[in-house]
């Protein structure tokens, strides 16, 4: 009944009547209709979680928790609203909680000045070339919140307002993190980009 049409998951609900129907069906107790939403959004949701926690198992668990949480509270979901931003916000918040928990465990604060200390590149796409690896390493070397915001902007292609909604930061703070990240990334990737001219 609810066949997944594509993996394009940034279309508003209005542009995807199947999504709208699936949400209505889930609200009226048809849990099976939720499969459509899971199929449509899971890849993006796992990718967002992985980009933050950088661990495939944790990302899978976080995606599962996010979808279950969304299902449990779907009655509060406003009709006509797109499902994507909602599930992205849930998974981002869950992933940020994991990061905070890790930091607390290490008796540190999420810092704007200290570099992030993850290095799990095991699940980078197999086709990732040297350029991709350099970019990934440069993003991962950023301080925690700059890293997360930069990844959401550069890799996941979210806009400032979307990142602000997902991370509970103001749009100004998002822009500030991105500005700082841009300066550092330009410096660290200078050899790759300074030679190219548009």
């Amino acid at each position: 009944m609810f066949a997944v049409q594509s993996e394009v998951d940034r279309t508003p609900t209005d542009a995807d009547p199947i999504e709208q129907r699936a949400i209505s069906a889930v609200k009226t107790g048809d849990a099976g209709a939720y499969d459509y939403l899971v199929s449509k959004y899971m890849k993006r949701v796992v990718s967002i979680a992985w980009g933050i926690v950088r661990n495939a198992h944790d990302a899978e668990d976080l995606a599962q928790e996010a979808f279950v949480k969304a299902f449990q509270t779907i009655v509060r979901f406003k009709p006509g609203e797109p499902f994507g931003p909602w599930i992205y916000r849930i998974v981002t918040n869950l992933a940020l909680d994991v990061i905070k928990h890790r930091q607390r465990f290490r008796h540190e604060e999420i810092s704007d000045s200290l570099p992030a200390t993850r290095g799990d590149r095991a699940d980078l796409p197999a086709v990732t070339n040297e350029l991709g690896q350099r970019i990934d390493a440069a993003i991962e070397s950023l301080p925690e919140m700059q890293r997360i915001v930069a990844r959401l902007y550069l890799v996941e292609h979210f806009e400032h307002s979307e990142i602000a909604a997902m991370t509970n930061l103001s749009e100004g703070t998002v822009r500030s993190h991105l500005s700082l990240a841009r300066a550092k990334l330009r410096q660290r990737l200078a050899d790759l980009y300074e030679g190219s001219h548009d």
Partner: protein, 104 residues
Amino acid sequence: MTEDKFFEKLREDSAPLRFQPRDSALWTRLPVRIRERIHHQPSVSQMLARWYRPITVSFVALSIVAALSVTWLEHTRESSYAAEAMGSNSVEITVDGNTFNLAE
């Protein structure tokens, strides 16, 4: 290259860095896990059982402890009564016509 152009170019080059699991079974496993979780939402009776079961177990444990305590107290009290009775009553032993009183 301007800052903005650099960042837009970097954004283009970063798009392929999205997560791709080494274990592609994840994409079939995850929906199954989610389906299992949401199709097994606890019913009202299960919710009540979840609350009542530990409370019932606690009450049973308390009852057993109370019963054992009362039994032990009764037993202790009886023992002390017997000792008191022995202490307050004199015991007389007669040997070869001579009577000895142990209480004296």
